[in-house]
Symmetry: C2
Subunit: 397 residues, 2 copies
Amino acid sequence: MEVDRSGSVTSAQGFVAGAVYAGMKTYGDGKLDVALLASHQPCTVAATFTQNRLHSASVDIDRAKLAAGPVRAVVVNAGIANSSTGARGIVDGERAAELAGARLGIPASEVLICSTGVIGHFLPMDKMAAGIAAVGVHVGGGPEFARAIMTTDTRPKHAAVRFGSYTLGGCCKGSGMIHPNMATMLAFLTTDAPIERGFLQTTLSDVVERTFNLLSIDGDTSPSDTVLLFANGAADGETIVATSPNAVEFAEALETLCTYLAKEMARDGEGATKLVEFRVSGAANLIEARSLVRLLTTSYLLKSAIHGADPNWGRIVAVIGRSGVTVSEPDVSVAICGVRVFEHEEPTAFDPGEVATAMQGDTVVIDIDLGAGPASATGWGCDLSAEYVSINADYHT
Amino acid sequence: MEVDRSGSVTSAQGFVAGAVYAGMKTYGDGKLDVALLASHQPCTVAATFTQNRLHSASVDIDRAKLAAGPVRAVVVNAGIANSSTGARGIVDGERAAELAGARLGIPASEVLICSTGVIGHFLPMDKMAAGIAAVGVHVGGGPEFARAIMTTDTRPKHAAVRFGSYTLGGCCKGSGMIHPNMATMLAFLTTDAPIERGFLQTTLSDVVERTFNLLSIDGDTSPSDTVLLFANGAADGETIVATSPNAVEFAEALETLCTYLAKEMARDGEGATKLVEFRVSGAANLIEARSLVRLLTTSYLLKSAIHGADPNWGRIVAVIGRSGVTVSEPDVSVAICGVRVFEHEEPTAFDPGEVATAMQGDTVVIDIDLGAGPASATGWGCDLSAEYVSINADYHT
């Protein structure tokens, strides 16, 4: 399926969005930091949230609202995560959703909230209120919504995919503290297809496992991670359920869009200069394939070597060895940028200069065959640069 | 117990050591790279090795020799790990031990081998042979042995501790690819006390769990990790067994020395400017306390914040939350350099400037009380600097 890079959360019919600068974001793109997304019609909504036990108040608020009844809008603030802020964090978040509902003319119960930024600061409610009062939503608002949710991201990440007569659009943010577990750092997806809620949630959970959850920028799971998928049915048609003829097409559209967005996040990782794609095959089972992919994306040594375009495959073998996954040692092979560098328990006679040159591109592909079974998985990460350190040594509390 | 920083592996009676430069180490301290350590008397030996499944040929060789009979010497080469080198790696390593035995006038079966450096290169046997032929061992050779085993280390790490009428000395190396699992990247310990083998091994395994295995520089477990403890009984006396009156004293000496060496490694981590000590208390059990300590030592975000002397405690809370350990949220508290920054689910009114100033020292202590139980653990790591990245982007294959 084709990814339309100009698409966004307002590409699907019936969705509007907008953003303003309320003065909370003091770094990165300081122009926008409060955003609204809403559907004219009632929606079915699927969501996945962070598994971090000490999470944002916004995550608690959203879980409760989704369990209680239908929702159709979300207010997002960037700069302050409203996490580790106790009871006051809940009160502040609920008040913000209430103000957003009033602004949109819908009940507060139908408005979710997402917060991203520094942990442990309270929401400045005067700025939030002024921001929400000032924001206007419109059908072309998707791109500005995608910009407003950014923190250390260097560029917005949004796209859309068509399936049948429907559109699925989305955006996400995330550049540091990215090692999603069940969800990632703020992704918003919208479709004008009518989709049954159970099928919507099952498909989202499954796709998130295969896309955002196989992405890591630095191994740290954010306490704000959230993926929200709104389906408003504005494009009419039969409600899509698991047995519908177009169910597979919808799942494929969702995977196409989420894969695109996950790769965009990896490429825009804090300080990153390269996207790294890890492809593990020959694993004993899917759990082992995915766990190895996750581990590979987090090795400081490997990420540093890739930054230096150094075909130091020994660091890949060291990660495989410590991963605990089943390996058939004589059958393990490793390739970097398509060149086999290790097999039959020994280095091959590859040309390091040739591989180093290939590694200087903006995408590095690592293929690993464990020779132990039929399972495979693909995941994404980025290189580790000195810039990552300075971003995070300076990004103050 | 007092740590004597001038002590080394030759402080205990009856041990000799020496080193030469054989031309294998092309980086770091290029002056010495082949070293020998031997006891005049027969020894009891305890050892722990890496849990990395794809490990150095030297580890396989040593495991087999220790199972087969007594050993009393070790030859070490730095610059090449002889790991992922298949059958040829085993042949090369055995040949090197044979040459070292001939040089020392003892059977090859009594000589272990340790190799550290780049993974996936074969040992240059001509250089190894010339080096071993040239090395001379002597009672003052401990410090030069400690220098010879270094790779990216910036300084040697050796010390000794007295217990009763006995001496326990040791040295270690390790600066990158340090996240030991059951052992760490090359530590050599010697004592002139007579110690029963079973008690020696039990005590070593236990102390390693509480010292080297709670150290992490970058989360990567080396395929060469080895701790060897030689007890030659040269100082005479009753053989120490688990029920001996001085058994506890020996265990305390071993823990004192290993703690000192582990902290020295953390302080000399690649690119590190600070030692970070993590003290977790109030954990539900010891496994959870240790696993949280290990996780804290590996967070890119936290390590970067500490590098910037930034009291960004939200990153500590984020790690606690994703760790999966049992927490009593209202009772969790976090202190940085002795200043409480988070408790009762909310930030305290601490002075960030005061904490930032304290963090500019060469040691940063983080205290975490999980409020969930009686267990505690302490571990060590270091900050993440731009220098780490350049060391590892340049340290070529």
